[in-house]
Symmetry: C2
Subunit: 414 residues, 2 copies
């Protein structure tokens, strides 16, 4: 018998029919002999309804009261789900953040969980009762109702799983799990049965929509085995793990991409210590986030520097960079908004060289020119012309054998 924490998001409990369906899933888990603690979000639409009331009433709502108001959304779904389970002979009991003793910092919104007192839920489990806990909420040391940051119900589930020593935290959502690439671009994309936490973190940073980046970071803090799976379709989902058994891991786990960036270059800048800071300082002061940065020294005196920014900041960045080029006596600037970023992610890269070389060859064979390259320990990102995005992603997906069930034996030198 295992102890599972199962979290159901807003669309999973979005109607009375969906709540009935979730109750069935929980009953199935119990009938399979597992103990289960459930975490629920508000029914989809409910939080928006409550926020709509606030917006019509006041401009800057008091944060304490805002949290009181939105916390009712999860109370509605948790009590309905508990009723539904109890009515079917599976005694369940709902818990607010305060009742579950989820203590947060003394900050009413975007509060961080500081401590969970697991006794009340453990007691319920011992009595054969299924605890249904409100996600996204806690209580501070003064007894105020607090709410967590974005993706807060995931955080509740992960923190509870850690505190209870659960065997697995299962995040039920409206996607089936994590794929080797977006199936809309790569029809052969395969759902991953497992992925490491670091890979998940890179994929979330790169824009994969399964889990919020912040949630993934928090997951890492608690190191709970976490499974993402669909409440709409049956299936094993994707397990996120923390142990890295490199021999069993694929070189490349997934391919992420986006076309939401633009590239800027400053050319022929007289090289001197701190020149990168002089170029990127004014960009940062303009509240523009920079993603990739590549510096390329041309000769002893001159250097080129390229970087990417969000496409929404492109025009603003061009204006700033023109001014910087003038100030620094650069030869000029160049810029391109029609670019795409393709990234390979995989912990296997740590122990195997040759992945980057293979990636460049595959893209070269497909006639795709690489404009920028950036690497991290478990990721290689390249910038290419936007029109080559699908071609490049599909070529890489096939070349790295991601459509095959087990690509562990794949030899990059082959």
């Amino acid at each position: 018998m295992s102890l599972l924490v199962q979290k159901f998001g807003g669309t999973s409990v979005g109607s009375l029919d969906r709540i009935r369906h979730v109750a069935e899933k929980i009953i199935e888990t119990r009938q399979n002999g597992h103990d289960v603690v459930v975490v629920v979000s508000a029914m989809s639409g409910e939080t928006n309804r409550l926020v709509g009331l606030v917006e019509s009433l006041v401009d800057n709502p008091d944060p304490r009261e805002y949290s009181v108001l939105v916390s009712t959304g999860e109370m509605v779904s948790m009590s309905l789900l508990a009723m539904c389970l109890s009515a079917q002979g599976f005694p369940a009991r709902s818990y607010t953040g305060a009742q579950a003793q989820i203590f947060t910092e003394n900050k009413c919104v975007k509060a961080r969980i500081e401590r969970i007192e697991p006794h009340p839920l453990k007691q319920a489990l011992q009595e054969g009762i299924i605890p249904i806990v409100a996600g996204f909420q806690g209580v501070d040391s003064y007894g105020n109702i607090t709410t967590l940051g974005r993706g807060g119900s995931d955080t509740t589930a992960v923190a509870l799983a850690a505190s209870l020593g659960a065997d697995e935290c299962q995040i039920y959502t409206d996607v089936d799990g994590v794929y080797t690439a977006d199936p809309r671009v790569v029809p052969e994309a395969r759902q991953l049965t497992h992925i490491t936490f670091e890979e998940m973190l890179e994929l979330a940073s790169l824009g994969a929509k399964v889990l919020q980046k912040r949630s993934v970071e928090l997951i890492g803090k608690y190191k709970v085995p976490l499974r993402v799976l669909s409440s709409f379709h049956d299936g094993p989902g994707t397990l996120i793990t923390y142990e890295e058994v490199a021999m069993e891991r694929p070189l490349v786990s997934g391919i992420a991409f986006n076309r939401s960036e633009a590239k800027l270059s400053i050319i022929g800048v007289p090289d001197q210590p701190g020149v990168a800071a002089k170029i990127l300082g004014p960009i940062g002061q303009g509240n523009i986030d920079v993603d990739m940065i590549v510096q390329n020294k041309i000769n002893d005196d001159l250097t080129d520097l390229s970087f990417t920014v969000g496409r929404e900041d492109y025009q603003k960045a061009v204006v700033i960079l023109e001014q910087v080029a003038k100030t620094l006596g650069a030869k000029g600037i160049s810029s391109d908004a029609k670019i795409a970023k393709i990234s390979l992610v995989g912990v296997g890269m740590r122990s195997h060289s040759g992945v980057a070389q293979k990636m460049f060859e595959v893209l070269g064979d497909a006639g795709i020119n690489i404009q920028l390259i950036a690497t991290s320990e478990i990721k290689i990102s390249v910038i290419v012309d936007e029109k080559y995005l699908e071609l490049g992603v599909r070529a890489l997906h096939a070349a790295f054998g991601l459509d095959k069930e087990a690509n562990e034996e794949f030899d990059p030198k082959m």
Copy 2:
């Protein structure tokens, strides 16, 4: 400076506009130099919406979860009102039943308040914060959310006023206060500036709709000066008091009436000890509530007994009574569904005789035959033909001078 508890019902906070209006009323109270603790009901319609969800989901909802669900209604209105006040520079803080430390018996629905720990609210008042407390809810000794019985928010307000030693508990509702008679029947009916608790209890029992009978009973337990007034129109409302200064009280405070009863008589029953019990026992066993009971001994051997029941039970009562008459060897039965009850209520009756005599004369002069009479210490009720209801009420209203501002000097013997 006084301390007031102000309670606003569902229609008073039924929309964002109404909530803004309530905030203005509270600000006015503060600007007049008073401290105030506010109790709110759920926005009208909200509780029905939540109950509707339950009814579509399960047949016999778990009482604990039912209370969790409906308690969110008051949380929504309290947080919106607190935001609205704070945004206008009047710091306010909402309190759930648990946060306000309103402890009830260990029973999730229709729970009775056992104890209130007033420290948290007193602390807020000292800090210049307006506490906004959720009506209708409390917490049991296990930390479960509980809800009170019908009229529960009134009970919360009265219990808080008692616990805080408030100078007055003000129940804002959609009526202006208590009237000498229903203004729809008696256009000259006058709003009472004050009424005693016992009179209010009689009027509530007789069907006046201002306060629930159960709420009035609870009010008496706590003995808090209570004022009923409208959140829609300005005005002093009606103050319910507990001190009876008879010399200052009118003989008759108000006239209540209803046409929701029917009369049954059993005629010529051989008299013997316990005959009333033999007649009314089977009626009670049929789950029929009996209101007035009048026994009239005809001679040494025979007695008549009449009583009234709710009109919805009339047919059923007739069938039972016919059987009883046969068993007891009575001469027969008679029955009439087209009757009305008219009641005079007033604590002044205690110290002055002659009110009943005057009532009978007024009705006699109007050509109205009295079928039954029942009296209590501060009430006289008569049963008359239904068609005389308005005529009788108006004649009594005029004869007892209820349309005049001060009827204290009225002499019943005049």
